[in-house]
Symmetry: C2
């Protein structure tokens, strides 16, 4: 039985527990004598806190402790990139849902009742709803230092010359909405504090154990070695679990009450108090020749990061860096602004700015193609990247550029030609969108991952990786790579629960980076383990390594009976003081972009390409859009797990469809109007079209076995493909998402 | 002070000791109470041993012990690929220089006198000089099992169809000579045996510590754990130190005498009793169109491996696999034979078969170009590999194919055009040759390397690598990579002396593999060390890794005073039971070629390209060739150490010039006629032309930082470039190397 698993559709390592209901998510944790924690949250988005009265609440039976900022003079701020979030609001609120008090009670019911007994006197301030208002000189400051948090630039070639060469110049403004990541499991956790060791242990899902560890440590003013973050099974993430949620509150209350504590967010709390996808305003001015060459591309991106920075500075400039699409353009000028408002803060969400950008550039590309009378496919193929292309950041793409293959194969698998020809039914349309997505943080951020493998005395493998499996399957990827290198069955591997006490940093499960980072770290660990096994077998068996064969947990002399099990080898090696433990890391370098131009010779390690073709039918009476079919052709270098690629592609497409047609967290004057799943609409299985995923494997990407990531790029082309298909069907161009029936009807009418 | 050293011309880590005379080579070892070992060697290449009389020699004062095969009934054979070499010849000799007896004496002088007192009675057998004779049915067998040791095949496309498409078909036979690798230091070593532990310790230079370890262990019938091979400073190698030489004899005599022992080969002994470059007969039949397309390529390679296999099977089939050069040819048929004769055995030498093949194919390419009236440069550019080309083994070259750049840049830097135009002086000529060379063993051989880095309590680094530095600079490469990853000065690194007792396998210093293998293993080790350092610093400094900066043996918080030295970190980590030790391996996979066709989708991990242009003046009165200038353009992906690349290029070119014009170990009836440096001519500094090396860096090779190896490809194009230049100068084509003045004069006369 061969066991090398790379390229095979093996069962996910966590699937059995999930299917049998044995998987323990954070809300499933029950510790003895737990207290339940509840935050009292501000109803006013921007207000001075004049007085907080907790006396009535304190009197409630079952309430053990209530604290406000007043009681906690020493607290530090927290936050992903900038420490601009208060653990408890002290002087003013900056957005609806800011925590003002923490309640510890013997039951969740008591805590909720106590919450209603807290009384706060506010002095309301002007609420900044719009980033354009926030950028005005006379706008009130939300934080010290100005409402424009940061801005970034992009410069390539000569933009004036580019416009001078154009036959046609078109400018459009596109707007994207505020979206909730909507992991099914809301924020939750339990915690305990050991006064002996002064160590806090917190069980709460996170996309990045070590970042949560240090954010909590900073907030509490202790060494990170005093914080242990333990990873439960994660009930979805999509960017929302990059920010700290319950962790600091839990740690604080565990110490103050001296008891174990638990906190579970309601859906409304999750929607109002945790991050969103950034709404963006993206203006693109493009120059093009009638022959179909794009000569100039000028872009402005304004991102509404809400009341707090979170990942905002990175999200918005990533939108800028991805705002030209996968097209060869010599002359580029761009600028982005990350702006504070009094809205619920924006942070990371699948695609991380590149999703918003893709809606804009793929709409613009379609508009340009139509204006010069060229087929959108031909226009994309004419301008699309190939090996040797230079990105807007000046990076030469020397390997793994499968864009054209994704376009060609998507067109072939779709009804593109047929729908274009059968122009009889005006309501049917087909749209295409192609995107690229840089894997990993790139940009000189010193990112890395580490994985450790141990052979136990019984020959099983124990694997330590802090990489968060948010459902995308990174642990299965790790298992497959180890299986491939050591020709060892996945069944014999035991994954330790993620924690910061015994594991090293694996970086975040975000930025579509785990395939590259933890994949390569794992391959390095496994190859070192293979070398260690060969070393000891060489000495024990007296056979040189080309004569040795490794299979199913044994190493044998080829063509002979002689061999050793992994277990025997582990015991022998341990007896020599050399236990079979191998650790591998991956610590690549990228280049920090130039501040003036964004130039970075190695901006990202690899780029994933995805072309989607959407086939839609639009009902011009109701404005309803039915997406009939989506073909997605993804260039992921090498499919380590083809079925997982398909799963990511389908899940991503569902999110993209929600973005295109329905999802919208509506905030008016800072107040979320639809913090629930009855008014916040997401696609259900009935909304989903048939999805066909085609895997393109372009060569020589730097990931393990030439793989690239798929997590985020899976969703990015969907919205523009659908919007382009709507335009194809009924001739109206939606430039502001989502394309609700109301918006479509309005557009149809104004066209008539 | 920045210390990242990749791409810089840093001092070699071993250069100071070498320059100051402090480097200890094997002949420099003196142990207390040593005995001196001398082998009595057969004068007859093929003879039955009827009687050995050691009695007179034993009586000599100072002789401690003499042994023959008779006294050592239990000895096993040894040998690199096939165990066909006897430690002491028992029944017959197979080549001149086979050892028949071993003498241990109190001085080398006594041992030599004893050697002359040994008397052996032989019955002489037919001596097979030529492989073509060896292949005949009635030839006497040198070993059981036939004189054809093995044969290999190469098949691609349809060779008949290829010839049918040709406008012109040409067949030529090329012959290469027997060459001595000629490391300046002859084989030597010391050994001791510990009866307590039963461990043999042998100090003797080798290109591959662990292979020598197991070859000696097998020969002595003990576990490899009982053999410790220690690496002295190596006085050159060039392939000659792949085979065992003194090691087994020393181990044996150390045990039998109970004393420390030493053995140093004379130059004649080294030339007669150790490996040579395989003489080869290479027949090429090519089809070409008048438009310059090569349509078919049929090749036969016959390699004379002498009396023993050594690396012969691999050398000869590597010649076959490289016999079509770096050219796109759809239809290929090839066959190779590795053949025993009674000559001194052939083994590994720089280029390992590919050198001989290149002389043949680059001569044939020039002949074809001339016949169809096309400039040789144009012909090569027209047919040369580019990204996407398919090798004769069926491997698609998806990355790092800089062949055309090497041709173009070599032409530009040379006087190629000028000499071609100035046709006035008929005696001046210019010749070009382009080659490719697969890095590493490839072909599915499970090759790997390992490197270990430790941070000591004082902050210095101790590095353990078993990679043999034969002067090419692999230890400097290791130091540069560690310096690059850890931003650490090379001065703070301490390389432990290579040995098998404490180090894991790094594979051989051969096959141009160490840059890829030990380079990548080192990078993996260093990146893991970087992760460990960040991990401990994160906990100690309470700072997240993007806020940390590593430099000159310290890790500091950016913009702050706080930091830790490596030494402090090492002590802290050790106190936690986690000493700062990182081990990295590189264990890539290649594909075993199909037996019938040689097909292998991943035959080698990377290919180095080298184009040389030789400018010569030929004296038609004396036949003397003066090489005036050689331009070498090498595509090595990325120059980790540009000066070392130049050094390898110049050294390789010197060897290639020797092969082209003078070197020739002449064996008649099995007897070497010139086992000395007065009759065996090699180039001196006066023979050397000006050499200009141009570094081409093609992208995305799999080595560290995109590097490829240079060791062997440095020499491969030189001989054909010179021979092509001679033809260009005086119109005679030398098809049998070396092109001595006699041969040139004879060719000139026969042309007249």
């Amino acid at each position: 039985m061969g066991t090398r698993a790379v390229g095979k559709k093996v069962a996910k390592v966590d699937v059995i527990d999930k299917v049998l209901g044995k998987a323990i998510f954070a809300p499933d944790y029950y510790l003895d004598d737990m207290l339940y924690i509840k935050a009292f949250r501000a109803p006013h988005p921007h207000a001075l806190i004049k007085e907080v009265d907790i006396s009535k609440a304190e009197e409630l039976a079952g309430v053990e402790l209530i604290v406000t900022a007043k009681e906690l003079a020493e607290l530090n701020n927290f936050g992903l990139i900038i420490k601009d979030q208060e653990i408890l609001a002290r002087e003013k609120t900056r957005s609806m849902g800011d925590a003002i008090a923490l309640i510890a009670a013997t039951s969740e019911e008591v805590a909720r009742r106590a919450e209603r007994l807290i009384e706060v006197a506010y002095e309301e301030l002007e609420v900044i709803e719009e980033p354009l208002r926030a950028m005005e000189d006379d706008a009130p400051l939300i934080h010290q230092g100005g409402n424009i948090l940061c801005s970034h630039n992009l410069k390539k070639g000569d933009i004036k010359q580019g416009f001078a060469e154009a036959d046609l110049i078109l400018t459009n403004e596109f707007r994207t909405q505020r979206i909730e990541q909507l992991p099914l499991q809301t924020e939750a956790g339990v915690a305990e504090y050991d006064p002996e060791t002064e160590v806090y242990t917190i069980w709460a899902a996170t996309q990045w154990l070590h970042d949560t560890q240090i954010d909590v440590a900073h907030a509490l003013g202790v060494s990170p070695s005093k914080i242990n973050i333990v990873q439960p099974i994660i009930g979805g993430a999509f960017g929302k679990r990059e920010d700290v949620s319950v962790q600091i509150h839990l740690a604080l209350m565990a110490k103050l009450t001296g008891k174990k504590v638990k906190q579970v967010y309601t859906r409304a709390e999750s929607m109002i108090a945790q991050s969103k996808r950034h709404p963006m305003i993206i203006r693109i001015k493009s120059g093009v020749t009638y022959a179909g060459k794009i000569t100039a591309w000028e872009v402005e991106v304004i991102g509404d990061t809400g009341a707090y920075a979170s990942s905002g500075p990175a999200v918005v400039h990533q939108a800028l860096y991805h705002s030209t699409g996968p097209y060869n353009i010599d002359n580029i000028a761009g600028k982005s602004y990350t702006v504070y408002t009094n809205n619920t803060y924006s942070g990371a969400m699948r695609g991380f700015g590149a999703t918003q950008a893709a809606f804009a550039y793929e709409s613009q590309i379609d508009i340009l193609a139509k204006e010069i009378g060229m087929d959108p496919v031909e226009f994309r193929l004419k301008n699309g990247y190939q090996r040797g292309s230079i990105t807007p950041n000046g990076q030469e793409l020397t390997s793994s550029v499968g864009l054209k293959e994704t376009i060609e194969q998507a067109v072939e698998a779709s009804n593109y030609q047929q729908i274009k020809v059968e122009r009889g039914n005006k309501k049917r349309g087909v749209g295409i969108a192609s995107i690229m997505f840089g894997n990993g943080y790139g940009e000189g951020y010193p990112d890395h991952s580490t994985c450790q493998i141990k052979v136990e005395d019984d020959g099983t493998l124990t694997i330590k990786t802090a990489a968060a499996d948010v459902g995308q399957g990174v642990l299965t990827l790790v298992a497959q790579i180890i299986s491939e290198v050591l020709n060892y069955p996945i069944e014999g591997m035991n994954f330790l629960q993620g924690n910061t006490a015994t594991m090293k940093n694996a970086g975040s499960t975000s930025a579509t980076r785990q395939t590259l980072f933890t994949g390569n770290a794992t391959k390095n660990a496994a190859e070192n383990m293979l070398a260690q096994i060969h070393h000891h077998a060489f000495l024990e068996l007296g056979a040189h390594y080309p004569s040795l064969e490794i299979k199913d947990g044994k190493i044998i002399v080829k063509g002979e009976d002689r061999g050793l099990t992994f277990g025997k080898l582990a015991r022998l090696a341990k007896a020599k003081g050399q236990p079979l433990i191998a650790e591998g890391s991956y610590f690549p370098k990228t280049d920090v972009p130039d501040k003036e131009t964004g130039f970075s010779a190695k901006n990202y390690l690899a780029y994933t390409f995805n072309t989607q073709i959407a086939e839609v039918v639009v009902d011009t009476e109701t404005g309803q859009v039915e997406v009939e079919r989506i073909v997605a052709a993804v260039d992921i270098g090498k499919a380590i797990h083809p079925q997982n690629i398909e799963g990511q592609s389908e899940g991503g497409t569902a999110m993209g469809l929600g973005m295109a047609l329905m999802e919208d967290q509506i905030i008016e004057k800072g107040i979320t109007k639809n913090p629930n799943l009855s008014n916040y609409l997401v696609p259900t299985s009935l909304d989903m079209p048939e999805i066909e995923t085609i895997i393109v494997e372009s060569k020589d990407a730097v990931g393990p076995y030439g793989a690239k990531g798929i997590g985020e790029p899976a969703m990015i082309p969907t919205a523009p493909a659908i919007i382009n298909a709507i335009e194809d069907a009924i001739g109206v161009r939606i430039k502001e998402l989502p394309a609700t029936p109301e918006k479509i009807l309005k557009a149809v009418k104004s066209k008539e």
